[in-house]
Symmetry: C2
Subunit: 567 residues, 2 copies
């Protein structure tokens, strides 16, 4: 066992930060495109994208993972550590990450700025409001809701079917009591009574739409296309119909600009947006990646959950919008995740780990390897080079790492053990080296499906070719809705499968690489503004709750104004 690390907040507070203008200069962003937002944080003006790019061919690296335990396997820390290590190899590297949601920060999960010696700083700013982009999303989303309910109140000239409204409200807080509510009670002037609810801001269509917008103009157009519900004749009612899209764009004009922070080792870190990884894409923004690619040799971007979830959407949805072609996919694997894929352990968030998980049991790691193989196959299916990053924990055993490395060798996949949490970039040098090697291999990136395939076939392609299902079972209601979507002109959109992230299958209890199962498609929904149709294949929670003793209870501020208890 190593000596215990200081807390993330202690490490972050002890860091000496570089002047942000120097960090921006490393990224090819001049002061004329940098808008400071408080100390050590700035927004990058999208006008920088119109400037001639540096003469270079950047490599595009996406960080994904094996099927994670509920604790997560360290994709964010690996992304940061890899960027730090590449800089130590004299590469210009930049990491593009999602902004953490305040709900989980005050709930169970805590902050999400990386960890240990692979963090993005200032971590306090990152974990709280940052530059207010989430708040702008909340405001724009809820303005549309208010205008919609106001439209109903003032006579419903558009003929919206009150029983077929899909637009809810959002707040960036874990608040279970807002999941299902009745609004519009009281007197006549207090609106129309109806059932609805709040989701967390990360689940807002506005959030994912912001990640996919390539310009302010594109943002305006996407906002206008948002469908809030349907008329009694089954016609989609849009934000444009409600004359809300212009005001929403005005509210988001700063939020579309990515935020620049830095890693603990002073490299550029672009933080932008944070859409849910289950019902949405779970990626940071297209604009962030475009800026990262313009100004670096290695642009490292993160995708949510395992390769079945985040990476598939990254390839099929985000890369389709951005036009960028990924070179390498780093698959983060941990000993504990692979051990759970043996089916012999149960890991729960907020509970102590099962004791045996920390013992030297290479056989259990081996039993979990089919999960890793499946994620490697997914990455290869898209014509991208896989690299396996074994994120080492203090309690890991050499023999367990060796099992994973041997297996990767047998599949012809590069791998490296990385100790970036304990050691920073110095701990990820081997990973950085194999990523550089992999990035110079030939690639042949391709999407899983063409957009002109019918929606149902696209869903089936993901289920069978990515998840390994034998087929899909579409409920009658979902089948009707898919037919309606084709009729309404949404048929050419890509698809997102809203399923559990705890299994490659749609059943969260199945470990490893499940076979011999079919995927039930219970319901489908259209995120027309964001630009995809999503299929609900499991219980999707879009508003988390707080635990008995939330993190918030342990957060405080000292008399001299330092935050304590953030993790």
């Amino acid at each position: 066992m190593s000596a215990p690390l200081p807390t993330d907040l202690e490490i972050a507070n002890a860091a000496t930060l570089r002047p942000l203008s120097d960090v921006a200069a490393d990224l090819g962003v001049g002061p004329e495109h940098l808008e400071p937002y408080g100390r050590d944080v700035a927004k990058i003006d999208l006008a920088v994208l119109a400037e001639p790019a540096l003469p270079h061919q950047a490599k595009y690296v996406v960080v994904t993972a094996v099927t994670p335990t509920p604790l997560g396997e360290g994709k964010t820390t690996t992304s940061v550590g890899l960027a730090q290590a590449l800089q130590r190899l004299d590469k210009r590297a930049v990491v593009a990450l999602r902004q953490p949601s305040m709900g989980p920060t005050f709930g169970i999960k805590g902050g999400a700025a990386g960890g240990g010696f692979s963090q993005v700083v200032p971590m306090e700013r990152l974990n709280l409001h940052l530059t207010g982009d989430f708040h702008a999303v909340t405001s724009a989303h809820n303005l549309l809701a208010a205008m919609m309910d106001n439209h109903l109140h003032h006579g419903n000239a558009l003929g919206i079917d009150v029983r077929n409204i899909t637009w809810r409200r959002v707040l960036d807080v874990n608040d279970r009591a807002l999941r299902n509510i009745v609004i519009g009670l009281g007197a006549r002037q207090d609106g129309l009574a109806r059932e609805t609810g709040f989701d967390i801001t990360a689940a807002s269509e506005v959030m994912v739409l912001l990640t996919l917008a390539t310009s302010l103009r594109d943002l305006r157009a996407r906002l206008g296309r948002i469908v809030i519900g349907y008329t009694t004749e089954g016609k989609g009612v849009t934000a444009e119909d409600l004359h809300a899209a212009g005001a929403m764009t005005a509210m988001l004009q700063d939020a579309i600009k990515p935020n620049l922070l830095q890693t603990l080792e002073g490299g550029p870190a672009i933080i932008h947006c944070g859409p849910f990884g289950n019902i949405a894409t779970g990626t940071s923004s297209v604009t962030a990646d475009l800026i990262a690619m313009r100004g670096s040799d290695y642009a490292i971007t993160e995708a949510g959950f395992g390769a079945d979830m985040g990476a598939e959407r990254f390839f099929d949805v985000k890369c389709r919008v951005s036009g960028l072609k990924p070179d390498v996919a780093v698959i983060v694997a941990t000993v504990r995740a692979l051990k759970t894929h043996s089916g012999r352990y149960a890991v729960k968030a907020g509970k102590p780990l099962p004791a045996g998980l920390l013992e030297e049991r290479p056989k259990d790691v081996e039993a979990g390897l089919p999960n890793l193989r499946k994620h490697i196959e997914i990455v290869r299916r898209f014509g991208v080079q896989p690299v396996v990053a074994i994120n080492a924990f203090p309690d890991d055993h050499e023999s367990e790492h060796a099992v994973i490395r041997r297996y990767c060798n047998s599949l012809g996949v590069r791998s490296a053990v990385t100790r970036h949490v304990a050691e920073g970039g110095a701990g990820a040098l081997e990973l950085a080296q194999v990523v550089v090697e992999a990035a110079h291999e030939p690639t042949s990136f391709e999407f899983l499906y063409p957009l002109d395939l019918p929606l149902e076939q696209k869903i089936e392609a993901v289920a069978t070719q990515i998840y390994g299902a034998d087929g899909i079972d579409v409920s009658p209601a979902a089948a009707r809705a898919l037919k309606d979507y084709e009729r309404l002109g949404y048929g050419g959109l890509p698809v997102v499968i809203a399923k559990t992230h705890l299994s490659i299958s749609s059943d969260p209890s199945l470990r490893g690489a499940p076979r011999g199962w079919r995927m039930p498609v219970r319901e489908v929904r259209a995120a027309v503004g964001a630009g995809y149709v999503y299929a609900i294949c499991g219980d999707m929670r879009t508003m988390p709750g707080l635990p008995t003793s939330p993190n918030a209870e342990r957060i405080d501020i000292t008399d001299d104004g330092r935050v304590t208890g953030l993790s």
Copy 2:
């Protein structure tokens, strides 16, 4: 009739802004205390207050008004115009204003950055998110609500009486449908069902608490004292009891820092907080005023609605916290407001003005003068020098202004006609001159009541000595609550009367200076964190609605990224 003015947005966009560091230097704020937040906006670190002040004796000027029409009489424009004019007289002048709420910006009222050539810029930033302080208030307020409902869900160890919860939720949007809602529906894990609602963020106790906090430490203490409801035994349950106050403070650590912008003529404008003027104090923050007083010859601050409302609270609540003694109260009067106080016209927001209001009718102005006299008496009651600012509109007639000026002369009160909207600071030079004269008169500022008076007598003192009521009629429920508050230790707090702003009385239909009426006290509530008890004396709307065609419908963004339609 003069030529029509360009729109506020056109004027604001045409302005050339000074570098904000120069503006800050004028205010004695060095770059080490200035945190830029996007272009042309910065936060001022409270550490500046610990620096030795400049050797000077600043004059403290509060801008109030006669009883306004629903359209408002131009306190903000007058405050800005006065500051601009004082600078033309070579005085160091700074204006401290409230931040506009986004709800009304997208609703009926439009923005609130001043108007014409007396505006604060950048007006777009000011009218939208500014630096996110309102969002921080929303987040902190709703975190407390979520932790409270989560406490109920997990067993209610504190024994909170579910039927006696006073803490609601807030959003910065006009959304009538959220006024009365039922939450916690759905399954067992979706919380406890109960009735509640949302107020607009400006009505949050956290907002007014933030205006009154003198330091981060004081903010922490006030947040801890917030009472969210009562136990079945009638004991107050606080944010401290729920262990929420530390996390709330962490969320507000930047929001407590006032924001620096500039007037159209390049003088410093401090914008901070925006509590409701009806149930709350309606003033900008104590910290803003302390910074303004430290670095200027004339600190001009605004109080909400008429002198009966905003100025009384400014004197009795805000000045008690800040320890600052006001020298001058500028009472903004308009021809149209005084005409309506004749009782011969009805002005409604969103409707055209009654035709006769624009005709030359000095007799009607004269008939409204008792209202002006009453506001002058209120200011004098506090030992402060009154100055009447006649805010001239293009349709005013000389004879109507003359009526007001003669009347002021007869009362020994200085007055001036001001044309700052059309002409900027040049139009307010006469006003600036009489303010300078008045500021050098002897004053003897005193509070209306001592804090150790029983709560009911404090309410009565405001009703009889300020509003001119014959007495108060306290409902049995309110009387019980007042007794409870004395028992619970809230008896030493000052009071705020939540009543209509459209009359000096509590009856919105009474014009002029009503006599022979009694004030009914229907209900009382305790804002223990903010530090006052408020009496509900009329229908108080704490969540506005949108009109049939909200302003939001006319706001858009051009292809080159300029906002249009903000007013």
